[in-house]
Symmetry: D2
Subunit: 279 residues, 4 copies
Amino acid sequence: MLISCPDRAGIVAAVSQFLFAQGANIVRSDQHTTDPGGGSFFMRVEFDLPELAARRAEVAGAFSPIAARLEMDWRLALGAPPKRVAVCVSREGHCLNELLWRHQSGELEGDIAMVVSNHDDLRPAVQMHGIPFHHIAVRPGAKAEAEAAQLALLQAGGIDLVVLARYMQILSPAFVDRYPGRIINIHHSFLPAFAGGNPYRQAYERGVKIIGATAHYVTADLDGGPIIEQDVQRVTHRDNAEDMRRVGRQIERTVLARAVAWHLEDRILLHGNRTVVFD
Amino acid sequence: MLISCPDRAGIVAAVSQFLFAQGANIVRSDQHTTDPGGGSFFMRVEFDLPELAARRAEVAGAFSPIAARLEMDWRLALGAPPKRVAVCVSREGHCLNELLWRHQSGELEGDIAMVVSNHDDLRPAVQMHGIPFHHIAVRPGAKAEAEAAQLALLQAGGIDLVVLARYMQILSPAFVDRYPGRIINIHHSFLPAFAGGNPYRQAYERGVKIIGATAHYVTADLDGGPIIEQDVQRVTHRDNAEDMRRVGRQIERTVLARAVAWHLEDRILLHGNRTVVFD
Amino acid sequence: MLISCPDRAGIVAAVSQFLFAQGANIVRSDQHTTDPGGGSFFMRVEFDLPELAARRAEVAGAFSPIAARLEMDWRLALGAPPKRVAVCVSREGHCLNELLWRHQSGELEGDIAMVVSNHDDLRPAVQMHGIPFHHIAVRPGAKAEAEAAQLALLQAGGIDLVVLARYMQILSPAFVDRYPGRIINIHHSFLPAFAGGNPYRQAYERGVKIIGATAHYVTADLDGGPIIEQDVQRVTHRDNAEDMRRVGRQIERTVLARAVAWHLEDRILLHGNRTVVFD
Amino acid sequence: MLISCPDRAGIVAAVSQFLFAQGANIVRSDQHTTDPGGGSFFMRVEFDLPELAARRAEVAGAFSPIAARLEMDWRLALGAPPKRVAVCVSREGHCLNELLWRHQSGELEGDIAMVVSNHDDLRPAVQMHGIPFHHIAVRPGAKAEAEAAQLALLQAGGIDLVVLARYMQILSPAFVDRYPGRIINIHHSFLPAFAGGNPYRQAYERGVKIIGATAHYVTADLDGGPIIEQDVQRVTHRDNAEDMRRVGRQIERTVLARAVAWHLEDRILLHGNRTVVFD
C-alpha cells in the first residue's frame, strides 16, 4: 500500500490499526515526511494478508473512509500477478541485455512481455529469450502512425510499464499522457548536466573527471522528469570521448536496471517533480 | 523510542496508537524485521511530544504494559540534554581532529566533554577548543591503576559514550563491561581482514587494490564487536605501505565520525553481534 | 613490450633509444619502481612499428643484448593475433554472460574460443553466441581424467588464457603449472576476508556493511594468488545472506570482466605475489 | 620536469637520454598523448639529480636545444624550496581547516604562508596554527582597492599558488591574469550542473540522487576554468537542502585538498581547457 497525504498526527496509527484489524502482518513499513510541521507525508507498507487478491475490493472499501478523512492519495499494489513490461529500443542493446539478464536470473519482478524497436537489429537477441519482438519503423513525417501502432501493441499486451532502454525517439505528449508515471527513460548523462545531444563528447570537451547516467520518469518536459536513480564513474585525461561512451554504457545499464526493479517492486512514490524511493 | 522484540502482528499499530493517544507527532519511523515469520523486530520512532522531559516517567509507565505484552526491549532516548562524550587518544590526532571539527561546525549532536590520553602530545590541540584534556600515562604493569583513574574521570564527568579515536591500548573486560554498547572503536582495517598489527603493511604485502576501515562497538572479543560502519578507498601498485597508511587515515576519520554521529542520534540498535543502523 | 628488472639509471633511455632507432612510435609508456634506490623496475611500452609481426625475431634479437646488460625479464606482446580465451564455468552464468556480452560489444580484446563446464546447464546460452561448449563431467575420484581431458582441449585450441568464471572446482597444482600467470579466478569475497566456503553467509553473520569480490591469478596457494582487481558495494542490515549473494554477483561479474580485459591488453606485470596494473 | 609538445617519434628517447647523460636517476615518468597520430604529447619526469638546485641554469641551458627542436613548452620544477600558498576565505572554515590539517600532518607539500579574508571570523583558527591572517574587507564599490591590497600582500609574500577555499568574491580578470594557472577554486557543485547561486537548493528542487563538488583553475570565464578534480556522494529523498549543503561541505573539503596537493606536487599539466593529472 502506497500513501501520500498532508502530514498530521495519527496517520501511522490509523493505517497500522486498520491493517491489524484486517488480519494483515506488516512485513515492511517506510515513511517520509518533507517537514514535520505541515509538509507532505509518504508511506509504503508491505504486508501479508491471506487471500488479499480475492478480498481486494472489500479491503479497499473498508479503507476508503480513513483515506477520505486523512485526504490520502493511495493505492493497493498486489504482489501478483507480476507487472507487464514493454522495452523500447533502437540499435544499442546494452541496456536491454542487462534487463533480460536480470529478468532471467530472477532479479527483476515483473514480466518482460515484449520488445518494441524502430530498427530490426536486436530481433535475434530478443527472440533467443522467447520474448516477442515488434519492429515498428518510424518514418520521417509519419511519427503519429508509428506511435499509434505502438500504443495499440502496448494496450493489446496489457502493458503496465514502458521502459525506454536507449530508445532514440522522443515520445509525443499524447503518448506520455497515456502512461503517466509509468514510462522510465535512461538518460546518458548526469542530469542536469549536458542535457543536449552527444553528452560524452561534451563531457570530454569540458574535461570532466566523473561521468554519470540518470534514470527518470518521462514527462512532457524532455529530460526534466522526476529522477529515480543516478550513478557515476571516474574518468581521467586518458579517456577520450569514445572511452567515456564505453564507461557510460556500463553506468547506463546498471542505473536503468535499478530504476526498473524499484518501480516493479512498487518502491517509488512521486512528489511533484521528485521521487521518494523507499529502500 | 527504540524497540526490539519478537516479530508478530500488531506491533506497529500498538506503538503508533499509543503515541497518538499521548499527543505525540511522529517525525520519523523505521522498522526492520529479520524474518516476517518469527524473526526479530526492530523499530525506531522519532516523535515530538511537548514537555516530554517533564512527563517522561508518566509516558514510560503508560507504555510498560504494552511493552510487557509484546516482550519488548525498549528505551526512550530524549533529544536533550545532549549526550556527553569522552574521546580517548594516543599520539595520532586525525580522528580526534575530525570529531572536534564536526562538533564545532554543528554536525555532531552531543558534547565532547573531555579528551583522555596516555600521552601528552595532543594537549594543545584539545585545549585550543576549550575542552579538558587529561593525561593518564599507562605504565607497564600498572594498567589496572590507569584504567581505574580513567573510569573515575568518566564517571565524574557523567560520560555516556566513550570513543576510542586511535587509542592504542586494549581495554580490560572489566572496563568494557562498564560501558556495554557505549564504547566505539575505529579499527584501521577492513574487518575481518588483517585483524592483527600493522594492517597497512599486511595489505601492501598482500597486494590488495582496496583498503578500508571499520568502526565497531567494543566487546570483550577484541576486534570482534558489532560493526557500525565501514568504508574503503582504492589503492594501486604505486602506493607503498606508507601511502596506504595515509589513505587509511582519511578513511578512518570519516568512518569513525559517521559511527559516532549515528550513535549520538540514537540510530543504532544492537542485534546479537550485528547492528541495525536506521538512516 | 613488458619489462621487469632491477632499478638503475638509464633503463628508460636505453629502451626508448632502441625503439626510436627501430622506427617505432611510442603510443603509451608506463613505469613503476618499488624503490628508487635499488628496488624493482617495471615498464610497459606500447608502440606502433610497421610490419612488427614479420620483423619480430629480428627486433627481439636486436634487443637481447640490452636486456642482458640490464638483467631484464621481458616480452614482446603483439596486438595481433588476438589471444585465445577458454572460460570454465559450472552452473552459474552471470560471470560468463558478462564476458560474452563485453566480447560481443567489442569491449574485450581477444577471442572467446571455448567454454568448458563440469555441467551441461549453460550450453544453450553459449551456443547461441556460436561458441563451442564442452561438457566434461568431473566424477568423484576421477578428477585427474577430467583435468587431462580439459588440458587436451585447451592445448588443441591453442588457448592463451583460462578464465575461471565461477568454476566450482579446485585445479590441481599440475594443471596450474601448465598455465603460470595465465589462469584468472573470480573469488566471491573481498580477500583476504572470508576465504572459506559460503562467504556471503559469513559476511551476513559478521554484520559487515560492505561486501566485495576479488579477481586474482591462480597459483598453487588456493585463494592466495596475486590480486588483479577488487571492488565492493554497500549493504545494510536490510540485506540478508541471499541479498548479499545477489549484490555479490553483480560485483563478481564486473571485477572479473575488468581483470580479463586488462590481461588481454597486456597491462599486468607480476611482481612476486603482487600485480602491477598499468592503466 | 613537465613537458607539452606536438607528438612525434623520439621524444621519450631524447628526454631520457638527456637525463641519463646529466647523471639523473628517473624516479617516475608519465606520458600522455591525445592522439598517437599528430596529437599533443605530455610528459612528466620526476628524477633525482644531486645538486640540481645549484646546477639548474646549466641543466636548463643544455636542454634548450632539445626543447627547441621538438617545439616543447617545458619547465623544471624543483622539489625545494616548497611552494608558498595563500588561502583566501570568507566565513566558512571547512575547506581551510582541511588544508591546515593536511599541512600540519605532513600530507601537503608546500607552505601555507598566509590566509587572506574579507571577514575577520576565521582569524583565531588561523593564528592558532601560527599562520599570518590578513583581513581585507571588500566594500561595495571599492573592490579594486581591495584587490590591489591583496595583490600587494601576495607579491610581498612571494606567493606561488592562490587557493580560493570558499572565498565568496569574484576575482577581476586583471587579478586572474597575474596568476595564470595558479589560482584554484572549489565550486560547490558538480560542474557543469547548477552553475549559479545556491546549488544545493537547486539540487534539492531537481530531486537529484547524487551531489558533487568541483575543483578547477580560475580563468576569466567564471566556473568555466579547467577542472582538476571532482567527487560526489549519494543523497536520498530524506535529505533536504540543508542536509545536502552539509554533505556537500564534506565533498568540497576533500576535493579541494586533493587538487591543491596535486598542484603542489607538480602533477598537473594544462591542455587548453582541460587538465592532465598524472597520478
